[in-house]
Subunit: 283 residues, 2 copies
Amino acid sequence: MANFSTGDAKKLFVGPGFSLADISPQSTPHFKGDKDKLEHEFEEIDKELSELQEMLYANWRAKVPGTGSVLIVLQGMDTSGKGGMIRHVIGTLDPQGVDLAAFGPPTEEEKAHDFLWRIRNKLPRIGHIGVFDRSHYEDVLIHRVHELTPLEEVEKRYGMIRDFEHELAKNGTRIIKVMLHISPEFQRENLLKRLDREDKYWKFNPGDIDERAFWDDYQQAYEIALRRTSTPDAPWYCVPSDNKPYARMVVKYLLLDALRSMDMSWPPADFDIETQRRRLAAT
Amino acid sequence: MANFSTGDAKKLFVGPGFSLADISPQSTPHFKGDKDKLEHEFEEIDKELSELQEMLYANWRAKVPGTGSVLIVLQGMDTSGKGGMIRHVIGTLDPQGVDLAAFGPPTEEEKAHDFLWRIRNKLPRIGHIGVFDRSHYEDVLIHRVHELTPLEEVEKRYGMIRDFEHELAKNGTRIIKVMLHISPEFQRENLLKRLDREDKYWKFNPGDIDERAFWDDYQQAYEIALRRTSTPDAPWYCVPSDNKPYARMVVKYLLLDALRSMDMSWPPADFDIETQRRRLAAT
């Protein structure tokens, strides 16, 4: 019996009564194997992921009606492993089928539009797996914590986000929202590593230490956002992430589940195979 | 002694007197190892490639003045392995540092501009490795073969391309242009495979067989394009590609060479390390 499954991953769904404090960042829920060998646990599904990704891409290229896309939204505190997730999980996919977008502070042009404008601009193409490194959730996280937007505006955004994501889902996008949940102690360790190695200095920003003073406010903002925007067609998963290989495994299984649920097959030939074989032989 | 080197890869440079007919698509020039074990030959440089890619990205993030980019242009006949190159070579890089663009037939909007407009739009960001799957060279290849543009206009484009690429190079882009050189027999085999397997039908286009009738015209158009646009700062490499692992190895070494030539180092800390350690310890 496998040590983990898509069903196990989906148990991390943020449902009614969700409380962030109930989830230990160090834990590895539902994983039945050896925690120290987690790195190798998820390799076995790479082949299936790769095949399903190609099938999705093929359906787009062959213009099969109803072909959808996948959107993975990654959120988490600094050093929670968003970059590593992209490198190690998304990096095993074929880059031709991946649409990656990172959202930093908005540019002047982006600020001239509503907060979802830049998000819509970066939505994955049909047949592609989109990955958002941060997202429209920053507009209800940092904006709530630092009051960058009046609270009554922030309050409206939860509903706007639900509507937006519902529209995406209806248009055929499988949405997977992942909060990489880490502890403040784990973040301290990670930041210290960035100060210890010259090849990590570039990742260090003194402002990250200032933000630690707002840890509890961020946790609260996350809890509110997750509770209000986790829906059946745009689910949030709260993934304990002090153990990085565990978090990566979970995301792989969530992606696998999304791809399987599309119930795809290879596009049929839209030409007569024997005719083409004869034509080719004649060249 | 290694079986291949960056110096070996650079010997495939298209220089004066280049003749495509002199290069056998089946050959594996300068490779001194066992051809059947080529798949494993290039793995040893993955670690260095990965480190240099991260360093390039780090220099961009740290806003180090003069940070450049890399642009790999992939051209070749149908089934020459452009997609596989992206999947297997570019796919081993961190997707966060890769800017990938595929150029198909131009859209109406693209046709409303000069032929370099859509190319400029997709140039890699500073600190990134850009990969073009087809490129502005289609405008002197298929356009020449099928006279989609009057010949006198096509003739002007070689100079425009040289100027454009020279400007890019001066702006800090290391350009690597690769022609994946295959034989018509190898293409026939590849097309037959697409007719043999249901998971390959989507890649087959009956028009690809029609294009085989123009094989010699394409070879001539390639030869002209390569001769006229291979310059020291925007070199073409003609890479025999009937042996796919060989072609992939060559591109890895060319990329390695470009990254090494940037002579980078890790960006220095722009903060006092001890101060930050103390601040962090206090949180």
